[in-house]
Amino acid sequence: MFSSAPYTMHERLPSLDSNSDWSRLIQAYQAMALIRCFDKKAVNLQRTGQLGTYASCLGAEAITVGAGLSLENHDYFVPYYRDHATQYLRGVPLYQILQYWGGDERGNAFPAQTPAVRDLPNCVPIASQLTQAAGIATKAKLCHESAAVLATCGDGATSRGDFYESLNVAGVWQLPLVVMVNNNQWAISVPGRLQTASQSIAHKAEAAGIEGIRVDGNDLPAMLDVLDYALDKARHGKGATLVEAVSYRLSDHTTADDASRYRKASELHAAWQREPVARLRQALVDAGHWQADQEKQWQTHCQQEVDKAVQTYLQQPPQVPTDMLDYLYETLPESLQAQRTVLSEHAGGRHA
């Protein structure tokens, strides 16, 4: 049926070839282990009332780390809300990621002098970031930048018009855009088979006239291969790519969700057998590039880094209540001064 289909399945683990860039794979493993440690802590913080609703990235580590390592500094990253490792690798400190999920917009004020400074913040309204990514890709093309734009979304997002509208314009205008779908099988409680009758999400690239690649999202080396290829293609003006990274959401949708209401324990158990962090660790160990003592030291390091981030997060001074008005316009309109005064008086200064 798809005789000229652009879609291909790309899978590499466990047969890593001898040309693998082992230092990059070790770096990737370290980031994956760190973000898993962070993720566990973040869920615990929410359970103890120290964080708001949090979207876990458990099971998506190869995807979000792969994105962070494949992006170059001058590229643009346009996330949905489950790519904490990508944000971290782009220069957002872990405490600031907690600050965002702690209900504080200062978590989106990414530090200057890092690649993240131009990146868009997390996008909660599903798929609406994709049209924005197409706009950024248009800007990169108009300004003759050799930069790529990587936008991410979940499988549920592929049901929205925004998804198709973005792929469509990327095809027409040959935009330097890569849209990566984390197909983790579940959009909260709705499984993929109820989202689409398409043979795969990657096939949806066909209608937009762009290349679609399906990749094992639990396979870090495969993720790097595919993203390196797609981003490089974008940077060289060779058009857009849809990447479907097939994974499994090992967590609840967010901390506000209880997946046991709609998901079989046996399915979850089976998915854990393919989880990406242990899989890459085993491949590194088997190849003789990662030892037990390294593992122990790295886990200790991760715990220390996360504990430090939590400390920094909890020690941040409260926001000034008037910030909610002061950052709305470049200059606060005169007509809002009266409201600002009321807010300032009733919020009791800095201790709202």
């Binding site: 989106n108 868009l120 309204p125 049209t131 197409a134 973005s166 469509n168 314009v169 950052y327 005169e334």
Partner: protein, 335 residues
């Protein structure tokens, strides 16, 4: 308060859509980061010809015909604006703007706020709005109040060629997102002198079009035309009207509105949009609290009816007419 008349050495006669075109051209000449996007705006020059000749002058890289998707146009504009471009997007008719609502409300209006100033969104969305030109269904709506309710989104409505030029230049120069609503009934109504200079008009001030001490007529957009005609009729009966063009619904120049109510004590608010929850209600509420002791009569609102904009066979029955405005003003005088 700003006078509608502007001193200038260079004033040329333009109709409203020509003034829009002129403002776009001048903004693009002055600033390379200004780009246009929308449906049918490049080769066709826009269905109302607002962008006529701009593709030929600035090229397809800066005047972009997009695929037919309003949500895409708005989302791409947000993305471009977040990275330093100044997109000026055309939504072909306001009746089609609702697909872009999520981008305007959830993203454009709050990007600066939610990144605490790290990113901003200096886009302009232009859309022809309002009825009276016998257009197809969904081509004649006036839903400005929906947008004026959104914090962070500026809503600007010109009512003359000069204000179209000056306000659009200001909107494009503005570092905040602006919804620029063009009263299409006025597009080709008349040519009036437009000052072509670099001084933009303020985006937070009403314009006093006529001064009088008996009654305040407050309006915006195409209805300014009926409102001025009503003021003429009232003058024949010796009633002198203050005529205020609100022009910027958000932010709202409450001071000018309170001042005119304080001066005349009688207020008629005129808008084409439906009555309930229309922007006139916000103005009436402002005056009821901040000018109460000066009011000599209940505030009158002359508006469209609480019905969908009728298809064109009945649109004249829907639109507020001069007689209704005059009658409302006389009720105020007789109270």
């Amino acid at each position: 308060m700003h006078s509608a008349q502007r001193d200038s050495q260079v004033a040329i006669p333009l109709n409203l859509v020509e003034a829009i075109n002129r403002a776009l051209r001048q903004a693009m000449e002055d600033d390379d980061s200004v780009v246009l996007l929308g449906e049918d705006i490049a080769t066709n020059g826009g269905v109302f010809r607002a962008t006529e000749g701009l593709k030929e002058h600035f090229g397809l890289r800066r005047v972009m015909d997009t695929p037919l998707a309003e949500n895409l146009i708005a989302g791409m504009s947000v993305g471009m604006a977040s990275q330093g471009l100044k997109p000026v997007a055309e939504i072909q008719f306001m009746g089609f703007i609702y697909a872009a609502l999520e981008q305007l409300i959830s993203h454009a209006a709050r990007l600066r706020n939610r990144t605490r100033g790290r990113l901003s969104c200096p886009l302009v969305i232009r859309a022809p709005f309002g009825g009276g030109i016998h257009a197809p269904e969904h081509h004649s709506e006036s839903t400005e109040a929906l947008f004026a309710h959104v914090p962070g989104l500026r809503v600007v409505i010109p009512s003359s060629p000069a204000r179209a030029y000056g306000l659009l230049r200001a909107a494009i120069a503005c570092p905040d997102p602006v919804l620029f609503l063009e009263p299409k009934r006025l597009y080709r109504l008349q040519r009036l002198p437009v000052a072509i200079d670099d001084e933009p008009l303020p985006l937070d001030r009403c314009f006093t079009l006529r001064a009088g001490e008996d009654v305040s007529l407050i309006s915006w957009g195409a209805m300014i035309h009926e409102t001025l005609a009503a003021a003429d009729q009232l003058a024949e009966d010796g009633i002198k009207a203050d005529v205020i063009d609100v022009a910027t619904l958000n932010p709202l120049d409450r001071d000018t509105l309170i001042a005119t109510a304080g001066k005349t004590g009688r207020v008629v608010i005129v808008h084409e949009a439906p009555f309930t929850g229309g922007f006139g209600a916000e103005i009436a509420a402002t005056l009821a609290s901040d000018a109460l002791m000066h009011l000599r009569a209940p505030i009158e609102r002359v508006t469209g009816y609480d019905t969908p904009m009728p298809y064109f066979a009945m649109e004249q029955q829907y639109m507020p007419r001069v007689e209704r405005i005059v009658a409302a003003a006389k009720r105020c005088m007789a109270y």
